[in-house]
């Protein structure tokens, strides 16, 4: 050992100084908590506003962790069951399947996972209502479609190409094959939220499940439980169920479960329904019910009352029953054999349908007429399913000219195979489904059609699909145009229509924008026909005046009570002349209400 200066020994401790301003690798004080992983699966959080209570989360959970419960302040409404999930943390294993099947994306897991309490029952809570503090730290979510376990794409429906469609009245929609239908049915999670939108409360998840399992006869039996015209509904229903399908939240309206097409598919699997349903109507109980009008509501009443043992007779003015589904809906949407199949089934249980028979007031003038007073006398109850048969008028000058017609008589003539008299160019006025039917029928006669509507296209009450298909078929849409005058030539025939363009003015009260005519913005369109399709009203002229008075009509509609009875005892009513939705499925729902009402009324309950 030498006595030299150990320079290294003196300096090296100071080398530690170079770490002086650096971030230490040791635990820091005060203690900093490490952040949880971004996609951690901790406690549930739920957006109660967004949640529709479909119960998919409760259904998929393998541990029975989730209950669907009522929550104060949340009422059931169309498209929302009003229930919300409640989670039991004694059972949750944080697999997050509940999040992955949530159709709205409202259910998520937070990154919080620590909760300590002596009371085990406090581990039970409704996410979104209690423990809102978790909402700050969102962990596992299912925001992209890729994460979702739901099958979000609808099986495409094949439809005739537009240039073929305009040449024929053959059915345009081809329908699903067995394989396609099963594949589409498999997408349904069976939550039942769609039922909230159906006026008739059809058993939608049940018949879709039967299709999925390949039990098509069972499916038809379920459908016939509360709908005697399912093939009609399967083709032309306004399908509010689909617009409220939970799939729409993530995938849009066009990817809702094709409930309508599936119903159609099930019904089309059979040539006739007698064998499939194998119904045994109750023996006649001696009570008789007269039904005025053979539309959907009337046929529903006749069918189900006959099954209950009542003798039912339907009086139909036209040569064929079916009401507007026969007279109004064009045959490329709802072919006659399809209607016949259902009418035959209704007749097969013993319903009598007297076609070409008009109900009138006073004494009947011919064999084809029967007086209302007599019906009232002979039958124990009368049901009015008269529908809306009187087309509304435009109320502009020149409406009486030759060539100015109404949509409804035109459609009726076409549907019953009568000759129609239209020119080369036509202007149709209106934006509802009748207007769409009218323009599309005219296109099939090779007519150059322009559609005039007072509001914008988004405001049209017609079905989007119909609007789209009409456009494909070459109908010219002129929105925000208001007819002012129909101009005739020297022979009293329509020559042109004068319209005024309009602008949309927002409603200060928050309602939908109103069209206001622009001063001086007139246009004259040459045409051979002007066809008004702006709505229909009911025709009460067949009823005796005292009864019309007693019915106490409100805005042209017949008020009824919860049993479907009008203010006149023994007279029930339903269908378009009663409800404001005025579609076939609402009419069927009204019919079923009246069936219950008439049954209770006649059996003295």
């Amino acid at each position: 050992m030498g006595w030299g200066i150990d320079l290294k020994g003196i300096v090296s401790p100071f080398t530690a100084l170079k770490y002086l301003g650096k971030h230490p690798h040791t635990v820091r004080y005060p203690y900093e908590k490490k952040k949880t992983a971004k996609r951690y699966r901790g406690f549930h959080i739920n957006d109660l506003e967004k949640c529709v209570g479909c119960g998919n989360c409760a259904k998929i959970c393998m541990n029975e962790t989730i209950d669907m419960v009522k929550v104060e302040g949340i009422e059931p409404k169309t498209g929302d069951s009003g229930l919300r999930p409640k989670v039991d943390y004694g059972r949750c294993c944080w697999c997050a399947l509940c999040v992955d099947v949530c159709p709205t994306g409202s259910l998520k897991l937070s990154t919080d996972y620590v909760y300590v309490d002596e009371d085990p029952n406090s581990f039970l809570y409704i996410p979104g209502l209690e423990r809102k503090e978790y909402e700050k730290n969102v962990g596992w979510t299912c925001e992209t479609d890729l994460d979702s376990l739901l099958d979000l794409e609808r099986v495409e429906m094949k439809i005739m190409p537009p240039d073929e469609r305009v040449k024929t009245f053959a059915e345009a929609v081809y329908g699903y094959t067995v394989e396609e239908a099963k594949r589409e049915a498999e997408r349904c999670t069976g939550c039942g939220v769609c039922i909230s939108a159906c006026p008739d409360r059809m058993h939608i998840p049940d018949y879709i499940k039967a299709i999925r399992d390949g039990q098509f006869d069972e499916s038809v039996r379920i459908i016939y439980d509360n709908n005697p015209l399912p093939e009609m509904c399967g083709k032309v229903c306004t399908r509010r169920c689909e617009f409220n399908c939970i799939m729409t939240h993530r995938a849009g309206k066009e990817n809702a479960i094709a409930i309508r097409w599936l119903k159609r598919f099930a019904c089309e699997q059979f040539e006739s329904y007698e064998e499939v349903l194998n119904l045994q109507p109750q023996p006649l109980n001696g009570k008789k019910v007269a039904i005025v009008g053979g539309g959907p509501s009337g046929l529903t009443v006749a069918y189900y009352l006959r099954l209950k043992g009542y003798e039912t007779v339907v009086f139909e003015e036209m040569p064929k029953a079916g009401g507007m589904t026969m007279a109004g809906i064009p045959k490329y949407r709802f072919p006659i054999p399809s209607l016949d199949k259902q009418l035959n089934h209704i007749k097969s249980v013993g319903v009598e349908i007297r076609e070409n028979t008009k109900v009138v007031k006073g004494e009947p003038k011919s064999n084809n007429e029967v007086s209302f007073e007599k019906l009232k006398e002979e039958f124990d109850a009368v049901f009015l399913g008269i529908g809306l048969t009187q087309p509304m008028k435009l109320g502009v000058e020149g409406e009486d000219l030759e060539g100015s017609i109404q949509a409804l008589p035109l459609l009726k003539a076409v549907n019953f195979g009568e000759k129609i008299n239209v020119g080369q160019k036509a202007v149709v006025i209106g934006g509802g489904n009748v207007a769409m039917d009218c323009v599309r029928v005219l296109r099939r006669f090779g007519v150059d059609v322009t559609l005039s509507y007072r509001r914008r296209e988004v405001d049209m009450p017609a079905d989007n699909e119909e609007i789209h298909e009409a456009k494909e078929e070459g109908v010219v849409f002129r929105t925000q145009t208001i007819p002012v005058e129909i101009i005739g030539d020297e022979n009293g025939k329509v020559k042109a229509i004068k319209i005024q363009r309009a602008e949309m003015v927002p409603d200060p009260k928050g309602g939908r924008p109103r069209p206001v005519p622009i001063e001086g913005a007139y246009e004259v369109w040459e045409c051979d026909n002007v066809i008004a399709a702006i709505g229909q009203k009911a025709d009460y002229s067949f009823l005796p005046d005292d009864i019309v008075e007693k019915l106490d009509l409100q805005w042209g509609k017949i008020p009824v009570n919860e049993r479907g009875m009008t203010k006149v005892e023994g007279i029930f009513a339903g269908g378009d002349a009663v409800n404001w939705t005025a579609d076939a499925i609402s009419a069927i729902a009204d019919g079923l209400k009246a069936v219950k009402g008439i049954d209770e009324y006649l059996s003295g309950k």
Binding site: G53, C54, G55, A58, M62, N63, E64, D67, M68, V69, K70, E75, P76, K77, S81, G82, L83, K86, D88, G90, R91, P120, N121, F123, L124, G190, C191, G192, V193, I195, S196, R201, P205, E562
Partner: protein, 180 residues
Amino acid sequence: MSYLEELKVKIENMFSPEKCYFPKENLLSFLVSNSEVRGALSYLKDVEGFKHFVMLSCVDWLEEGKFELVYIVWHPEKKVNAMVKTKIDREKAEFQSLHDMWRQICTYEREIWEMFGVNFIGHPRLEPFILEDWKDMPPMRRDFDTLHYVNEHYEWREGREESYKPRDYIGEAFDEWRKK
């Protein structure tokens, strides 16, 4: 041609893989017969340099009657993964243990033995791992009825009496609500 694409050609020449494809950009996946698994993994490890063993997993193909074993390995330099899959019979679920190639395979195999009931021949320590006193069917098999098991083994907590099925609730309660 990227490294993985070249590797794909080599694998196709050397073994007889089915469904050799790229599920992700940096991942090559292929299915080989049982006898080729050790060879494929050995080639990937010793020749290509997939030094790191990522994981071993099992998929239950109940309808086919097969279990699928999935070996995933990682190449630290090329930064790519390879996935070697093989299918074994579900009825007679057994496979050779590969614990000598990477030691951590031991643990994975033990877990799969416990959860799926696959017997790994030559494994030094096949004994219960997570489950205690488990006498039932291995729980990760798809025919294991979790719901049934849960209802049999766990009590219902108080305060869970109220519970509705949305489908039934809509049927009944909605008409009440409509009347309002």
